[in-house]
């Protein structure tokens, strides 16, 4: 099956002194019908990819295809791609209904079809009662819905969303996350979503590309990205992580034996040929407290911070670094340890992720 969007060695350099490389040779394949998220800190190049796909910018080199056809020579108005802008970019001199119908009007669709589709779209985003309002007279959340309806109305093959939820307050954002996911499933349109919010990315996406410095660090399902981060950046950017140093004692085709700082050894998966000193990552909720004897690492409990649903335990390890564990609270359990107690940190060997440099 051909991909909805496929980029090869996609590069974008902004001229200047010195020139700024916003994207350095990105490879990306986005399947049809997929909710795909580009996730990364600001300036990582995620919006540049979006603007290249929309056609607002031209790549410096590389190829960009939609369903097997090159996009490079197509101006934005000839691409069956619509965008939901971060600022919404609603036309202030038009009503809600006129905004939503604009794309169909430009496509030269008959009036009856336009008004019918506009009606459907307004129902879809629950805006029917505000059809004749000017866009300046509606709230931010409503503007967001109109922007979404306007981009969906021409039934594009790919929908681009540029941090569309960032201007909304927390509760509205939560609602819209679910609603966007629902819309994507219902319409079957490929969604490419840009965000810097890792939680948003994890909740909504089928697959996530984590980006930094104009490069893609890892592409995978939310679960893969969270449980098996490829490198230190990904592990650090998504969720909280403990980083530990370990030495590879043996590496037989990816089945490795690692020696931790405490001297104990664990079996873990590592890439072929990885040897010497490595960094491993362990999620706080994957570890639990135990006695010094049963723990893979030993240390002293330096702090216990109560968070309602869970408690964060800070353990100062023998080498002076801090390891954070997160344990869910239940009414009938107490941790059984007080600050100052010597404790052990326990985790199953398979949760330890050997990171790429």
């Amino acid at each position: 099956m051909t991909n909805a969007i496929s980029a090869r060695a996609l590069r974008k350099v902004y001229p200047g002194n010195p020139p700024v490389e916003a994207l350095g040779g990105v490879e990306i394949d986005i399947a049809d019908n997929e909710f795909f998220t580009l996730l990364g800190p600001s300036g990582c190049g995620k919006t540049t990819i979006l603007r290249l796909i929309a056609g607002f910018e031209h790549p410096t080199s590389g190829t960009l295809e939609m369903f097997g056809q090159s996009l490079l020579d197509l101006p934005p108005y000839k691409r069956q791609i619509n965008t939901v802008f971060q600022s919404y970019a609603l036309f202030p001199h038009m009503t809600v209904a006129e905004n939503i119908g604009f794309g169909l009007e430009m496509l030269g669709r008959p009036k009856t079809e336009i008004s019918q589709t506009v009606g459907e779209m307004m129902e879809l985003v629950q805006m029917s009662h505000l059809a004749d309002r000017q866009t300046g007279q509606i709230s931010g959340g409503q503007q967001q819905r109109v922007a979404l309806a306007r981009a969906l109305a021409p039934k594009p093959r790919v929908l681009l969303l540029d941090e569309p939820l960032s201007a909304l307050d927390f509760k509205l954002r939560k609602n819209m996350q679910l609603e966007l996911k629902r819309l994507q499933t219902e319409t079957g349109i490929t969604f490419i979503f840009v965000t810097h919010d890792q939680e948003e990315a994890l909740t909504m996406s089928d697959r996530i590309a984590v980006m930094s410095d104009g490069a893609i660090r890892q592409i995978g399902s939310p679960r893969e990205i969270y449980d098996h981060p490829a490198d230190r950046f990904v592990a650090d950017f998504i969720g909280d992580t403990n980083f530990l140093s370990a030495d590879v004692v043996e590496n037989r085709d990816g089945a490795a034996t690692l020696r931790l700082g405490s001297g104990r050894t664990i079996a873990a998966r590592a890439a072929q040929g990885v040897n010497g000193r490595v960094t491993i990552a362990v999620r706080p909720e994957h570890a639990r407290l135990g006695t010094p004897a049963e723990g893979l690492l030993a240390g002293v409990l330096s702090d216990a911070v109560y968070f309602g649903t869970d408690t964060h335990f800070h353990v100062t390890l023998e080498d002076g670094t801090t390891f954070v564990l997160r344990q869910q609270n239940s009414p009938d359990s107490t941790a059984g340890f007080a600050t100052g107690d010597p404790v052990g940190v326990c985790f199953p060997a398979e949760v330890a992720q050997v990171l790429r440099d």
């Binding site: 036309f91 430009m106 981009a151």
Partner: protein
């Protein structure tokens, strides 16, 4: 509002200087307006209130003719210069940065920099050559000359408006299948109107008011209102001049108010 560290109004003598400046600016104009209602024939000795000079100006055929000519020239000139200014503003804000963009900007605004008398003499010589070659002596020379020096006045507010506009609106339109021309027609132009109107009105007032270039460029019998008034001043001066001036002042003030309202409306 927070206290300002430096408040110029608290400096000694500020109020005095401010009032002196306003007096310098507006006393002569107030006097001119007051004497336009003088019942006597002097522009300096008050002899009671009367509308007679307004009536006399209204009935003066030369004034009528000059006023009409002024309006025709100003309308044409503001129309032409605004059209050119819109195109120039689009070319300097909606294209990729090109080499010599700053030079182009300076060239467009050249009439603001070059002494008017230089332009006037240049036009006089240039048009004289064309007049000799073609034999045409109509109003087109005046209209063209006015259009030329009105361009920067129309260009500046239009450009400011274009620069202040959210580019993502135009991108959104292109994203929604609008061709470049449709983007301009449906998104850029509707938002640009206040700027265009402001530019056109400014150009209109500037054209209406011009003396120097008109005096040099006009053919015989082509007096505009300002050059007619200048001609009158060389002969007998009656408060009729004050009446005409006050009427012109009225038009200018109306335009300025309309301009201000429009600029407020667009925010």
């Amino acid at each position: 509002m927070a206290e300002r560290v430096f408040d110029i109004r608290k400096q000694t003598g500020f109020t005095t200087i401010a009032f002196a400046c306003f007096a310098m600016l507006y006393m002569p104009i107030i006097l001119l307006v007051v004497y336009s209602f003088n019942a006597g024939t002097s522009i300096a000795i008050w002899e009671g209130f009367s509308w007679r000079w307004y009536a006399s100006a209204w009935e003066n055929e030369q004034v009528q003719e000059a006023t009409l000519r002024s309006l025709v020239v100003a309308l044409w000139a503001s129309g032409i210069s605004t059209t050119v200014a819109v195109l120039a503003a689009l070319a300097t804000t909606r294209t990729r940065r090109f080499r010599g963009q700053t030079a182009v900007f300076a060239l467009i605004n050249q009439p603001l920099m070059v002494p008017e008398i230089v332009t006037a003499v240049a036009l006089l010589i240039f048009f004289a050559m064309i007049k000799v070659a073609t034999g045409y002596t109509g109003l087109a020379y005046l209209i063209l000359a006015h259009s030329a020096f009105c361009i920067p006045f129309a260009y500046l507010p239009i450009r400011a408006r274009l620069q202040g506009m959210d580019l993502s609106l135009e991108q959104a339109a292109a994203d929604l299948y609008a061709t470049p021309f449709q983007v301009f027609r449906r998104v850029t132009l509707p938002q640009l109107w206040p700027g265009i109107l402001a530019g056109a009105m400014l150009a209109f007032v500037i054209s209406l008011d011009d003396v120097v270039i008109t005096e040099f460029v006009k053919s015989a019998g082509q007096d505009t209102l300002p050059t007619y008034m200048l001609g009158q001043l060389r002969r007998v001066v009656t408060p009729e001049i004050n009446a005409i001036s006050t009427a012109l002042l009225g038009i200018s003030i109306t335009m300025v108010i309309a301009y201000t309202l429009l600029s407020k409306f667009r925010k």
